[in-house]
Amino acid sequence: MRCRASRYLPHTLHYYVFCYIFASVNEDFVHKWRSQVKKGTLAFIVLNILKTRELYGYELIEQIRSYTAIDVAEGTLYPLLNRLKDEGLVNAKWVEQETGIPRKYYSLNEKGLASLAQMTQFWEELQKSINKLSK
């Protein structure tokens, strides 16, 4: 809901005042909800990307951006990777590079794959019910 000038409505002061109040509240709510969903699904997205091949942090950020249009902050991703590692879902290893600056590669392990399978199942069920609901 945006406060656009409409040809069909008289643009009284009331219209703008009410429109502004309701529009700003709604947009604010949706905005917050979107960031909550993004935050909640980031681990799922990361695991899905790592399913295909092992990646280092910077590459992973690029991939997330290209697949999802989510501009993930580095300050969120690295702690998340660390948590996934601590939980035993991903492995991490340092790989020496010719440049002398090694890269830390993350890969999905058995436990990660199994967990991802469960997450995917839940995701699909949720999607089905939402589709049914919002029909």
Partner: protein, 199 residues
């Protein structure tokens, strides 16, 4: 670790300063974790410098942009360090690590405030040991008519008047030591459990 070098003097300075801040924030961690954090940030900066191409941007501009995206080391590393510190604390049983870990985690929930109180409570047992050494007659575990009355300090006059008896005698200090150690180990084990469940 191989440090990065920049042609631009300003960029070099910015980089050195940032690394210094990272080192400062991660100071209390085990060497392995410290190196890991530093190396990963170093690698991130290096890869980003290679990829980001902005027309007419100087090295310093690019670096500033990358670091800006990464965030302030103090903010970004705080949750990471709080978690690593907690793991270190609960595996080593080192009281210094525990105090630091709790201080870092205290903003992360009521549970850690409760743990801080538990450790503080534990300190009271240590305190009465010290008090017993200084005031052997006034300090002890006191019973009145066979039931628990007080653990701590009591005025001898009051003691006589109400028939309060000290029951542990010479065993007071060893008993308090034992209670402290058991309490300490138990609390730390519970902390480890809670930490595992919360992650």
């Amino acid at each position: 670790m191989k440090m990065l070098t920049f042609n631009d003097k300003t960029a070099n300075k910015i980089y050195q300063l940032y690394i210094k801040r990272v080192k400062k924030v991660s100071k209390g961690l085990p060497e392995e974790d410290k190196d890991d954090i530093l190396m990963e940030i170093n690698s991130h900066i290096y890869e980003a410098m290679q990829r980001v191409h902005v027309k007419e941007a100087t090295e310093a501009d690019k670096l500033l942009d990358i670091l800006d995206r990464f965030g302030e080391p103090e903010d970004v590393l705080r949750p990471l360090i709080a978690e690593k510190k907690l793991r270190q604390a609960t595996t080593t049983f080192n009281p210094v690590h525990i105090v630091k870990a709790l201080a870092l985690n205290v903003t992360n929930g009521v549970a850690y405030i409760i743990f801080s109180l538990l450790y503080l409570f534990l300190f009271t047992f240590v305190f009465v040991i010290g008090a017993k050494i200084l005031y052997p007659k006034e300090v002890g575990l006191f019973f009145q008519d066979g039931s628990f009355y007080l653990l701590g300090i009591i005025d001898p006059k009051y003691r006589q008047k109400y028939g309060v008896e000290e029951v542990l005698g010479n065993w007071f200090i060893p008993a308090m030591l034992l209670v402290s150690v058991v309490f300490y180990v138990l609390t730390t084990l519970i902390l480890r459990l809670v930490k595992r469940r919360r992650k």
